[in-house]
Symmetry: C2
Subunit: 222 residues, 2 copies
């Protein structure tokens, strides 16, 4: 894949014009949605000629794909707190903030509702690429011995952010602080049940786990 | 909420007619999608007069909501295999089958794309109701001591099925056997990392966990 022609800045447009076009697309996706947005409106909102747009992006799908690919990178949470627990809490709270932003909501809805085959196809590829930043906390946790080395990091990442996508795009349930807190703590309980706070029926010594060979698992929750 | 007027069978339609109307809606949602579907088409496909439909459902949104609420109950997987691990595997594999069915795909897409406020509103309520069957395996696991008593069952359920919704409605990634296998095994690794198969760096005895007070956790995976 040729990064310079298909992602980031197309040749021939100045940074300023490109940024204005992208900003116009983001506003129009928020205000009108993908289906209703016309390239004429984008050109007018960005103060450029429509032919300028068409020289860079042959279709609305290509333009919107470029905006979605480059649009949110700067807002991705990138915690590095020294432990899996702290990283997951920071990641979830950063993602919750990101997913409450009207632009992100519009991006997710665009991906959910676009029936343009070209856009859908390129967004499938985007789905594989745009979660790389979420892998890092889990890869560091593996390096620290907090997770098994054969952990399926890709599926862990998908488990963590899918509830955000599903709430925004399908169920309509709120993405709020309570959700963020429950998502982080349930994910962490799953990642390692706090043995000190519960013992299964019949267990003689529920605290034994804390003395086992489980290794360091810093916790700062509840 | 009045169950008999808002869910299940509206008064005044025979079971046979109601089933034919529901079947017609399911077919049209698969073939055309919610936006394009007209009540006239439903009436024609079901072989009833349009006025018959309007007497029972004032709007397309009400009719589609009724179909979505009652449509899939019979296909929900309801495993009871005696252990959390076996139940999660059966649940995920049953859900994967369900989510590959064209009708389910159409239902999820309808929920994702419907911009009708009336339909969206009632689907939010549906989202709270229609996951009750998924709670049972986790509630039994708590009763058996496989999960802590204060487990957030609602969030566990949401974590388990959100990747299915997100793949179908947003990312477009495939819902196939490989996905099903990875989802179940990652969820189970999260629920209790298999200590016998890995030891964190510096742990003298990685097998200590299996002798700890962790209680019975039947495993039959990998």
């Amino acid at each position: 894949m040729s990064e310079t022609t298909h992602r980031g800045r197309p040749r021939g447009l100045s940074d300023r014009v490109r940024q204005e076009v992208h900003a116009a697309v983001r506003r129009l996706l928020v205000d009108e949605g993908y289906a209703a947005m016309r390239l004429e409106d984008v050109a007018a909102a960005a103060g450029v000629h429509k032919s300028t747009l068409y020289r860079q992006w042959a279709t609305k799908a290509q333009l919107v794909r470029d905006v979605l690919v480059t649009g949110e990178l700067e807002h991705y949470p990138r915690p590095d707190e020294g432990s899996l627990a702290a990283d997951v809490e920071a990641l979830v709270s950063g993602l919750t903030r990101l997913f409450r932003d009207p632009t992100t909501v519009a991006f997710v809805r665009t991906r959910a509702t676009a029936d343009d085959p070209e856009l859908r196809g390129s967004l499938h590829e985007l789905a594989r690429q745009d979660t790389a930043f979420m892998r890092l906390p889990f890869e560091r946790a593996i390096a620290r011995g907090e997770l098994p080395p054969d952990t399926d990091v890709g599926m862990l990442v998908e488990l963590l952010f899918s509830p955000l996508l599903a709430r925004l795009a399908v169920t309509g349930l709120p993405v709020d602080d309570e959700f963020s807190r429950r998502l982080a703590s349930t994910f962490l309980v799953l990642a390692a049940p706090p043995a000190a706070t519960w013992a299964p029926p019949g267990a003689a010594d529920g605290d034994a786990l804390s003395r086992s060979g489980r290794g360091p698992r810093p916790r700062a929750r509840r």
